[in-house]
Symmetry: C2
Subunit: 210 residues, 2 copies
DNA sequence: GGGAAGATGTTTACACTGTCCACAATCGCA
DNA sequence: TGCGATTGTGGACAGTGTAAACATCTTCCC
């Protein structure tokens, strides 16, 4: 990347997207703090100020990178769902699905800690959680994936409808916490074995306690 | 604070501690990124490089501030334990205690989001979780407080001994995740009522699913 | 007591960051 | 063809972390 004179024309083409892609690489390698505007423009082969034609400030760039990272998380979760065992019993199937959603989330955190941290480095709110900018290739955001899995649990009569409302918060909190603690919190340094074990038990806890 | 010529002597007295205290205030107001070395020295009435006599670099200062913040979290948790209802039944008492530990943790996150984020802004590992630098006035770190509460659950025959090992990870993950999501994650903007509700349900989940 | 050695603060300097402003090249359309 | 809007460039500035050399204070030993 970053071939110095690679740009034939004065115009870049799609600088905005290029900056987000470069930002994603920076974030992957070093987390949110590594998303430095000047570095991104440098790698995009453009002057620092060019970025300001597409983003209000560094924070806006980080926001865009963060959204893209969440989309990648969604991809990882969908992959895990696709790989989940398909039980005959609809109830078990629904439970396996929620499990896969959670496992995918934690796997993403462990495989791409920089992106995971970046995804949550910028304040956000619930209203934006269905925004297409945060969606994966399947068109759904992580939040929507959890929601759908919970709906399936209700449909399969595993989760009483009375407990459905805002159940996302609980499931999400559990996996988010483990992900955070494991990648750069006090739980880093655990062996893979220990993390796998903790993940399984955590998902049991959610399954049992939701 | 930061009286310009307030220092009578050439020596400061206890600059290291002063920097940590100032850092704590900066973190309280603006999270980890607000802990800027030059600003801290400025408020301590000292030249920027004076800090380097006490900390290897900015990160070492942040580390110290982060530890102090964790100590404050421990204080908050102990306060919640002290305020917990004391049931006659030892089993209920033990369960109330774990609940208080979790509730204190989340309350701290909500009351001091800047400090909470700072406490987890620097990578750490499990071996350090009992370090005295992270302890509160009661002498125990948050990790030790959870551990003690879990031990009490085993002693009261609520939690089978076979599930005791590393149970900290599960309980901690749940409350940590909710804390994070609520203060600057996608769950911010929820009404206090909603957060209280989510907290109660989350603690139920842990109680039921551990 | 008198100095030397070490600890602690200061000054100067540098590279790097985000961002503002004025200017230039290019594109799209009348 | 020309002209306005978009997009990119160059130069500048304040603020940051940190290195190196220098100054001052404390301590402690002869």
């Amino acid at each position: 990347m970053a071939i110095p004179g690679a740009r034939a024309s004065y115009r870049h083409g799609d600088l905005r997207d290029a900056l987000v892609q470069v930002g994603l690489e920076l974030a992957r390698a070093g987390g949110p703090d590594a998303v430095v505007l000047r570095q991104a423009t440098r790698e995009a082969g453009v002057s620092p100020n060019a970025a300001y034609r597409h983003f209000a400030d560094r924070n806006a760039l980080l926001q865009a990178v963060s959204d893209a990272a969440l989309g990648l998380a969604a991809d990882r979760m969908e992959a895990e769902i696709a790989a989940a065992p398909v039980a005959d019993d609809p109830a078990t199937r629904a439970r396996e699905r929620l499990r896969a959603v959670g496992a995918g989330y934690i796997h993403f955190a462990r495989e791409e800690p920089g992106l995971f941290r970046t995804a949550f480095s910028v304040p956000d709110n619930l209203q934006n959680q269905a925004s297409a900018t945060k969606a994966g290739r399947g068109g759904q955001t992580p939040f929507e994936l959890v929601g759908a899995a919970l709906d399936a649990l209700v449909a399969a009569d595993v989760l009483p409808r009375s407990r459905r409302q805002n159940a996302e918060f609980l499931a999400w909190s559990a996996v988010h916490g483990l992900g955070m603690l494991v990648i750069d919190g006090p739980l880093r340094g655990l062996t893979d074995q220990m993390v796998d074990d903790a993940t399984a038990r955590l998902l049991d806890m959610v399954d049992r306690g939701l």
